[in-house]
Structures are given as structure tokens and as C-alpha cells.
Symmetry: C2
Subunit: 218 residues, 2 copies
DNA sequence: ATCATTTTTTAGCCTTGCCTAAATTATAAT
DNA sequence: ATTATAATTTAGGCAAGGCTAAAAAATGAT
């Protein structure tokens, strides 16, 4: 299984994997938006991925990863998270800085180097954002936790994970004292899917439900 | 100083820097050979580098780096050597394994990451092959040492550096017990630039003068 | 059922960096 | 001083991975 796919191919596979939460196919425009690419560019790439047997594509309907595509996507997620953990633990990066660097390095480091990092770290099971590190054989550990947007009001909770999104959002979380391990509580919830106000150790903040979805608690 | 040059550009600059030992311009074919590309490809790239003000090129004569080109080349050498040292010290690579990984990573890691690696290593001055690590401001420390090919016969010496070449050659050196810090001595020298026989702690070997030039002693 | 809007695909173009084959220039040998 | 050889450049192509503009299909609203 020669994983010698290009950086672009690897990023497309990872994006498809993350967008395919339910099991409905991923739309071309979602994918394009995620990767900051024109829809036409995504269409062209999807065709190549389909030819390579990495996705199944029904024109005008959407795309889903094949088993082989999923395997490579999960492997990229594994690499990404191990690198993030390494950057934090060994090179003293902050958890809101690791993603940017890992986004590049995940395509550059060898399998050997990923293994060494994992060993040096003591075989970690989670990355700095609380996301689980998949096994080398493609198994993704189940992650307990509920999106904060679905948590009952005025009920104490602990942040277990911040689902990866943009670096800006992560920096905003960091700034607001929102980080894995921290205690939170929903103080107020505006009607009609309005902003959710939460209290953490460092004060109160209002978040859009969209954003509150990225905070997983328990 | 936006160093956002492509991987290819960076590798061409580094190659030019290493080939330009004396001060005669570097020939296009030398450069092409070093980078395993066709001469025509090197010509095309040289033209782009010249347009970007990184080299001066006289058609049919050769190329030499401008000051700005030299600066970027030296910076790439710095990155390469810091990464090599990091791979050896932190990830337990052997010194004959580090080059291959560093050749890729040097283009992928951020300046921040290079700085962190250098700090975590305790600001090292040399890489695993005994080559000096240039300063961040482009100054290259002078390296004492003489090519073994020019060392007097039957005179004990210590290896201070193995000048970087192919991974295969480095692995051969490792296998023959030739490594920085080791004692060597020329036992015999065949006439007409013939093979040089040397003795190390682990036995005797014959090397071409070409290869013996890569071993710097003192 | 028809029309308007949105989504997706197609068509055509661009840049980077490589290639081979053919010209051109420099160098070496008569 | 030619002439042969070697080095270098030019010409013409190719694959990846982007882009915009135009066509086509799906979706939603009268
Ligand atoms: Mn990436
Ligand atoms: Mn993460
Ligand atoms: Mn390189
Ligand atoms: Mn080295």
C-alpha cells in the first residue's frame, strides 16, 4: 500500500472524512469551502480520487470515501494528532499553535518519524485538543462527550475536547479560557438558536450555537 | 524577507551553494547532476533564479549566487543541520539516517519550529556529521580540518567531519566504522590517484580519493 | 407545471517543474 | 584553421492543481 499521494490528495481525503459525519454523501461545495478552493477545482479532484478508487462519486449528488479512502484519511488524522501532541510536549507549543504547523508536517514526515514521535511521547492516546489518536491499523477510538450546544442548562460539565476548526477559533477559545479539562456551565440560552452564554473559571462569554458545537463536554 | 520559495528553488540554491567552493561559477551540468534533473531543467530554473535576483547567470558560462541567494542557501543549510541534530538527539535516529528525513523537512518546518528545536537541543554548534550549524544571521562558522586525501601517510588523525553526500555513502562510512570523533590513519596510498587504504578502530578499508575527500580530519 | 435560483460540472487557461529532441555555442583535437 | 565533441540552451510537451466563465442539472417557489 504505497501511500505516496500528494499533499492535495491527502488534504481532500481528510476533509471528506471530517465532513462525512452522518453518512449522507459530502457535497462538492462543502468540500470546496472547507479547502478554500473553487467548486470547479473540487470537482476535478473528486474525479481523480474516484479514478484512484478513493471515493465514490455520483454526479450532482455528492461523494463518499471508499474503504481505502477512509483508511488513508484516518491515517492522516493519526499523523496530524501525533504531530500536534509532539509539538506541545517536546517543543513547548501552545495548544492553539499546533494545528497550523501540523497541517504542513503531516505531509512531510516519514512513517518512521511518526512512530518515533509516538514512542518518545509514551504512546499517547489523545492530542492537545482532547481528540483521540487513531490506531496505526485504522481503528478510531470512540470519544465520549456531548456537544455543549446539546448540554442541559445550569449543569456543571468538564470540557473533554475542542473539535478542530480554524486556528482563529482555537485562539479565541484559548483567550476565553476554554480548554480541555476546564469546567463550564451554560448560564443562559437565547431563544431561536441564539447565542449561548457560558461561565468558565475565567468569566462569562457568549458563543454562537455553531461554535458551541465544537466544545465537547461530559 | 519573505522566504516563501518553493521546495525546488530552495534545493537549487542549496546545491549552488555547495558546488560553489572555490569561486568559479557553477556549471549547469554539475548542478543538474547534483539534483538528478536533466540539464535543460536546470537551465530553466537558473533563468527563474536569475530573474528573482538569486543568481547571476552568464549563458554558456555558469551561475553564481548573489548575496541574497547565498543568504537563503545558508539558511537552508542551517535548517537542515538543526533538523539532523534534532532527529539524532530527540528521536534517536542514527547519523546515517538523518539526512534523508531532513532533506524533506527543511522545506516544511516553520522558522518558529527551527528555533524551538535549536533551543531544546541546547543551541548546538554542529550536526551529527560534524558540520557546523550556521548562525541565524547567515554567518557560517569556520570549520577546522583537512580532507583525508591530503593528509600525510602514517600519521594518526581524528575524524572531525563527514561532508554530506549521498545517504548510501554515509551508510557505507557507518558500516566501515568511519564516523566523527573516530581515529584514522592512512596505511597505504596507491599511485596515480589510486585507492587510499586506511585503518580505523574497526579494521582496514580502501577508499577512492574521491570518497576520502569527504572525510575531514585533524 | 413552469420559471427562477442554486449547485455542480464542463471548457478553456495558467503556473510550476519536470522531460526529450533539436539547435546552438564552447572546447578540444587535428 | 577546421572539425569533431561536449556542454548548454531552446522548443515543444506533459502532469498537477489551481482559476474563471459558461453550460447543465437539481431544487424551490409560484
Ligand atoms: Mn494538511
Ligand atoms: Mn487537534
Ligand atoms: Mn531538500
Ligand atoms: Mn549533515
Amino acid at each position: 500500500m504505497p501511500d505516496m499521494h500528494s499533499r492535495s490528495v491527502q488534504d481532500y481525503l481528510k476533509a471528506l472524512y471530517k465532513l462525512q459525519h452522518n453518512d449522507t454523501p459530502v457535497s462538492t461545495s462543502e468540500l470546496a469551502a472547507r479547502l478554500h478552493v473553487a467548486p470547479a477545482s473540487a470537482t476535478a479532484m473528486i474525479k481523480k480520487l474516484a479514478d484512484a478508487g478513493l471515493v465514490e462519486h455520483v454526479p450532482y449528488q455528492g461523494s463518499r470515501l471508499t474503504e481505502s479512502g477512509r483508511r488513508e484519511a484516518v491515517n492522516m488524522v493519526r499523523r496530524h494528532r501525533i504531530i500536534e501532541q509532539f509539538l506541545q510536549e517536546v517543543l513547548h507549543y501552545r495548544w492553539d499553535e499546533v494545528d497550523e504547523e501540523a497541517e504542513v508536517l503531516e505531509h512531510a514526515v516519514s512513517d518512521k518519524m511518526v512512530d518515533r514521535m509516538w514512542e518518545v511521547l509514551g504512546r499517547p492516546s489523545h492530542d492537545p485538543h482532547g481528540s483521540p489518536i487513531p490506531d496505526a491499523d485504522g481503528h478510531v477510538p470512540h470519544q465520549p462527550g456531548t456537544p455543549l450546544s446539546e448540554w442541559p442548562d445550569n449543569t456543571p460539565a468538564t470540557i473533554v475536547r475542542l473539535v478542530e476548526r480554524s486556528p482563529e477559533e482555537l485562539r479565541y477559545f484559548a483567550q476565553q479560557g476554554i480548554r480541555p479539562g476546564e469546567a463550564v456551565q451554560i448560564v443562559q440560552r437565547a431563544p431561536f438558536d441564539g447565542p449561548i452564554t457560558i461561565r468558565t473559571a475565567s468569566g462569562e462569554t457568549s458563543l454562537s450555537p455553531e461554535l458551541a458545537q465544537a466544545i465537547h463536554v461530559q
